[in-house]
């Protein structure tokens, strides 16, 4: 498949011309500085091999750089605990990193017509980038002996994550399953319903839309202390903050979406003698779906933020925001990072679920079909 893309005249890309020779030079110098010779030499040879392979096939060149940089990273991580790594070690880190960067460049330069192949690359490239971010984080924190309070290494965070799943689950249940989800559903539904209600009144629309737009620029999280006073320390007060934060984006987007149908389409429905409700359900709400899903996506992030920040103003002794603020106070930074990992995971899964639902419901929309 890759060879099909190589019919065009070959030319090195500027970054490839920089990165691969760079990696081999760093690898060789590291050997001269008495670092472990196999890694340094391996990187140097792989870089040159890949440089030559590029003229044949970008994919095989990328496989060489990817494989060797991964092996080098694995070796470097397993030896980093040796106290105060020498200069040669750091040169190898840089060399392996350049090699991995070259791999990303090569993968990104592959152009192919196969959609499956494109999709695999579309996932592989960012994953590779993310993994290398973690590798460098691990190597730097452990190699430079960064104090744990400042920035714990990913392995420490993973350890803490695995050893305190019970606490993390309890916090997740309190913050996400109760405050975020309940508030999100109520807030989004309310925004949608109000948008439908004011749909028949141009006067209310003209009055509410500018205000809704203004409110979405305001620091609404600030109502958190008020909600905590009104609804108590437990999750209802957090859900209330989430409701207020998610209501306006939904309102504004739904109103805009309901106005999205073309005059031609309206005329068609009029010739069918469609009633208001028929044209609402058969034309305008489907046309509004991309806008509504846009609001649902924006709101998924806002809901998480609202619930967590509201917990800074008082909670029962459970919840993600509570845990973050108390563990920071005790300087248990690895626990804070574990909690952030949970939040990140929950946030991206939440967002991903909405994006998938959107694909199912708006399969007809040009942005999905293309």
């Amino acid at each position: 498949m890759a060879n099909a893309a190589m019919t065009r005249a070959f030319a090195y890309r500027p970054m490839e011309r920089l990165l691969l020779p760079g990696a081999s030079v760093f690898g060789i110098i590291s050997v001269l500085l008495h670092a472990y010779w196999l890694t340094g030499l391996g990187i140097a040879v792989a870089a040159l091999l890949s440089f030559w392979l590029l003229t044949k096939s970008r994919l095989s060149a990328a496989l060489v750089t990817g494989y060797v940089s991964a092996a080098a990273a694995w070796y470097l991580i397993s030896t980093v605990d040796a106290s105060a790594p020498p200069a040669g070690f750091w040169l190898q880190v840089v060399a392996a990193w350049l090699l991995a960067w070259a791999c990303v460049e090569q993968l990104a330069a592959i152009d192919t017509l196969s959609t499956l192949y494109k999709r695999v690359l579309g996932i592989a490239i960012p994953v590779l980038f993310g993994v290398w971010l973690l590798i460098l984080w691990e190597l730097l924190t452990r190699g430079l002996d960064v104090p744990q309070v400042l920035l714990p290494s990913p392995s420490l965070i993973a350890e803490r994550f695995a050893s305190s799943t019970a606490t993390l689950w309890a916090d997740f249940k309190q913050t996400f399953l109760k405050a975020v989800l309940i508030g999100y559903v109520i807030g989004c539904t309310a925004g949608f319903v109000v948008a439908i209600l004011i749909d028949r009144s141009p006067f209310l629309q003209k009055g509410l839309l500018p205000i809704g737009n203004l409110v979405s620029a305001l620091p609404i999280v600030g109502v958190a202390p008020i909600m905590v006073m009104w609804f108590g320390f437990d999750w209802p007060s957090k859900a209330a903050v989430v409701i207020i934060m998610t209501f306006f984006p939904m309102l504004v987007n739904t109103v805009a979406g309901l106005a999205a149908a073309q005059p031609m389409q309206h005329d068609l429905l009029k010739t069918y003698a469609a009633s208001y409700w028929q044209s609402l359900f058969k034309l305008r709400i489907p046309e509004a779906l991309p806008f509504i899903f846009n609001a649902l996506k924006i709101n998924s992030t806002l809901a998480m933020i609202g619930a967590i920040v509201a917990e800074f103003f008082g909670t029962p002794t459970v919840g993600m925001g509570f845990r973050i603020s108390t563990e920071v106070g005790r300087m248990n930074v690895d626990m804070v990072w574990a909690e952030i990992a949970v939040a990140a995971l929950a946030g991206s899964l939440f967002y991903g679920a909405i994006a998938l639902t959107e694909r199912v419901f708006t399969f007809w929309h040009p942005s999905i079909r293309s």
Partner: protein, 302 residues
């Protein structure tokens, strides 16, 4: 019944004002209803039975109402702005200034970072494919959750004051700018790009003469979003430092001591500030676009 009526031109002054009026009326009704319980309990404790009218008027002047009436909030704001020296610790202008300065510093840093990232992404395919997905994914993470940690950790290594708060504002505001600028830098028509090529313009020339000017409307649109969340970031960043100074500190102190009027006035001032910032950025954007003859472009996505 007609579609798209909201988009039609026409004065929206009267509708907006009536909605604002309705909100104020509802606010007063809410204040009366929510504060009534306290008046009733006072009456019960003292064994008096004041008339409903007396109780109603009392609900408007409680010291720590459940929901302060609008005029109480306005009064508090006037008392703590116009009638206090700016240097006073009780002046809201003093606190707003502190929040504003860290928000502005963070906004400036975030905008710079966003523009730099966007330029790198537009000119490097590998970064486009590897970094952009992570920038987008980073927004599904509740970033504000990290705020207290950044503050405390930076505090532990001796970085204090404006900078830690500005970092959080920066982290929040770089995203819309980066995404908007990527879109903007890629927005020139193929015609124009081809024209540049026929002039044999270098990449730098094409950047400064074509891509950068066409991206400006996008930049200002995303800066409006960025400045609003930069302010949110600065306010939230003030929470974990234990209520020293700033609008966030006023919120926290108010919630510790049950000073609802203080909370509301801080909230209103923060909202006015946010609205002003957005309006100012909007003005600058319109002015710049007009100078560049890009009015139509600005209208299309502004």
């Amino acid at each position: 019944m007609a579609p798209g009526m909201s988009a039609r031109a026409g004065s929206s002054f009267v509708p907006v004002m009536s909605v604002v009026l309705a909100i104020v009326v509802l606010w007063y009704v809410g204040a009366a209803l929510m504060n009534m319980a306290w008046e009733k309990s006072v009456a019960q404790r003292t064994g008096t039975s004041p008339s409903t009218m007396a109780m109603l008027s009392n609900t408007m002047k409680q010291e720590r109402p459940v929901l302060p009436a609008p005029h109480q909030v306005v009064e508090e704001i006037i008392n703590t702005t116009v009638k206090k020296k700016i240097s006073s610790k009780r002046s809201l202008i003093f606190h707003a200034g502190i929040t504003l300065s860290s928000a502005m510093l963070g906004f400036a840093m975030g905008t710079m970072l966003g523009i730099l990232l966007a330029v790198a992404i537009v000119y490097n395919e590998a970064l486009n494919k590897s970094l952009l997905p992570w920038i987008i994914a980073s927004q599904t993470i509740p970033i504000l959750a990290i705020a207290p940690m950044i503050i405390v950790v930076l505090n532990a290594i001796g970085v204090q004051g404006l900078l830690p708060k500005a970092f959080i504002s920066m982290y929040l505001s770089f995203f819309p700018v980066a995404v908007g600028m990527v879109k903007g830098l890629n927005s020139p028509d193929t015609h124009y790009v081809d024209l540049m090529r026929t002039y044999s313009a270098s990449r730098t020339q094409a950047f400064f003469k074509l891509r950068l000017p066409t991206s400006l409307p996008y930049l200002f649109t995303s800066m409006k979003v960025a400045v609003a969340i930069a302010l949110v970031g600065a306010i939230v960043a003030e929470l974990p430092t234990g209520a020293v100074a700033g609008l966030g500190a006023r919120l926290l102190a108010g919630s510790y001591y049950g000073q609802t009027i203080q909370i509301w006035s801080a909230l209103v001032v923060a909202s006015i500030l946010a609205a002003l910032l957005v309006v100012v950025i909007g003005w600058i954007g319109t002015w710049v676009n007009r100078r560049l003859g890009l009015e139509r472009g600005a209208g299309a996505h502004g």
